[in-house]
Subunit: 315 residues, 2 copies
């Protein structure tokens, strides 16, 4: 992996993604006693950073692979990302979604032209359904997070952030399947000036936290969290990158996630999904450690079901 | 009133306000069959356009007036605006608030250093309480909407919008007390290229709509609306401007306001208060009239109580 590969990727996917803005709030800085800039991937096309990885993964396929389309299984954002990226690039996308996926995410995938197949919500059922589609259609399977081209694509969010704000001491990103934090870590390593990367995870699905401790990929037996994008576990491609380049993982409670999410809505006046708020919650939880530091927070996305916002429940 | 007065005002208040961004959504354009740009005053300091008028009104006081401070009565955003503008300019602000004002707005006024006096929520009670404070302290009364300096300050939002997007056919703004629409109409007149101004009002508090028909300032006998910033009626200073320069007022139902608000949250990924959504609701309601036109929509503010968002109720 080289610096040039990341820069090439950025150049390649640029026509198909937004360069998202960087925002800050004086009041949030006062609360945190540090200087925080937010990389707003909620403003990315289809509403999440996953557009970056999906676009890069498709663009790296051969022409004959592209003809047969792509397939993935995803609980939401990657499904939308692969659908829209495929549409932008003129190829077919087959999407396996759990039958309990939020309605707003199902409609979005349909809106972007993805061909949906529903399966049981277990990872096994979703993988099996994807394999079957790949066999029947010849479509290339693209994993939402454990795929090097996806990781490199995702890395461009932090790359842009460091272009805009070069002197960050820390970058925080949420950890779900590990594709965002791995990409973020690569960009911080290549483009930061001693910029450390910290992962943020709900305490109820702390598989990545435990994985870093045990040295093997841990899973979540059960574990409900409002940050529904972060329930998945790491993979064999992103885990070594995380082990090498991520300094630490901070786990946060559900109420801390909602508190951070409320700050983002009230002070930045932007819509983010709960998974995005996990990274700010981590900064605030251990704010003594980061006093007066310059911190980047990757807001991963903004695709939230407005009928089920958590504010009233946690007020 | 001249073009130069507006430009002078903009120059004067610029150090104390944000130049807010202009956003758009391809999907909203498809739904509307027109090209809509949103002037995002939800990103303004304290979260609403009212910061512009409040700042200008204070800056136009004499030094001896400034020493004694300012007083106003407001159900929310102007209270915050005058408090913050006063704080920025180093003077005192006395704020009369109705005792049923949302908690989030009371806390915000306190946060900006405003001295709050609570009164009954009738306009009479609020006016009386303000007069008493003015008598006792010598503070200058600044009306939230029926004040020429406030109107000129508010006009700078549309002025900036037309600097960024000069060829708008229409600008839409919500109508509450009339201070935003009057300022918007002045800027459209002086800086637009045959740019027409259309007001938007909840049907349940359609006092401005009726005022334009009858030629006198009408009031709302009762009338509940989710757009709580729009319950007030016009004043003798802004009404003649509205009569002269506003082409039309479109009234919208509550469910149409929430539908428009949902589009803004889901597609622009930004937080706006219901009053802001009224203007988009008006565009969508009569979209046949505005087909293929270039439309500016002033999103007036983003100060919403997150515990009482309307989405679930209207889903």
């Amino acid at each position: 992996m080289t610096k040039e590969e990341l820069l090439d990727c950025h150049k390649r996917i640029q026509p198909f993604i937004h360069r998202t803005p960087v925002l800050y709030s004086q009041l949030i800085n006062e609360i945190a006693s540090s200087n925080i800039v937010f990389k707003c991937e909620n403003f990315q096309k289809m509403g999440a950073f996953k557009m970056r990885g999906a676009t890069n993964a498709i663009m790296q396929l051969t022409e004959s692979q592209k003809e047969k389309g792509v397939v993935t299984h995803s609980s939401g954002n990657f499904a939308q990302a692969l659908s829209l990226a495929a549409k932008s690039l003129g190829i077919k996308a087959f999407i396996v979604m759990p039958n309990n996926a939020p309605k707003v995410k199902i409609e979005a995938v349909e809106g972007y032209g993805g061909n949906i197949t529903f399966s049981e919500s277990t990872i096994e059922a979703r993988e099996k359904a994807s394999e079957l589609i790949a066999q029947n259609t010849g479509a290339s399977f693209i994993h939402p997070s454990n795929d090097l081209d996806v990781i490199i694509g995702n890395a461009t969010a932090c790359l842009e952030l460091l272009e805009d704000v070069p002197d960050l001491d820390y970058v925080f990103a949420p950890i779900g399947g590990g594709g965002l934090i791995a990409g973020t870590a690569l960009s911080a390593h290549f483009f930061g000036d001693d910029c450390k990367v910290i992962g943020a995870e709900p305490i109820t699905v702390d598989d990545a936290f435990r994985s870093l401790q045990s040295g093997i990929i841990e899973t979540n037996v059960s574990g409900e969290t409002i940050a529904d994008g972060l329930r998945t576990h790491l993979g064999d491609i992103n885990f070594p990158i995380i082990q090498k380049y991520v300094q630490k993982i901070i786990t946060v409670e559900e109420y801390e996630i909602v508190q951070a999410m409320r700050l983002i809505y009230e002070r930045l006046k932007i819509v983010v999904e709960p998974s995005s708020a996990v990274a700010l919650a981590a900064v605030l939880k251990e704010k003594e450690l980061f006093k007066a530091k310059k911190i980047g927070v990757i807001l991963s996305g903004g695709n939230v079901d407005l009928n089920y916002l958590p504010f009233e429940k946690y007020s």
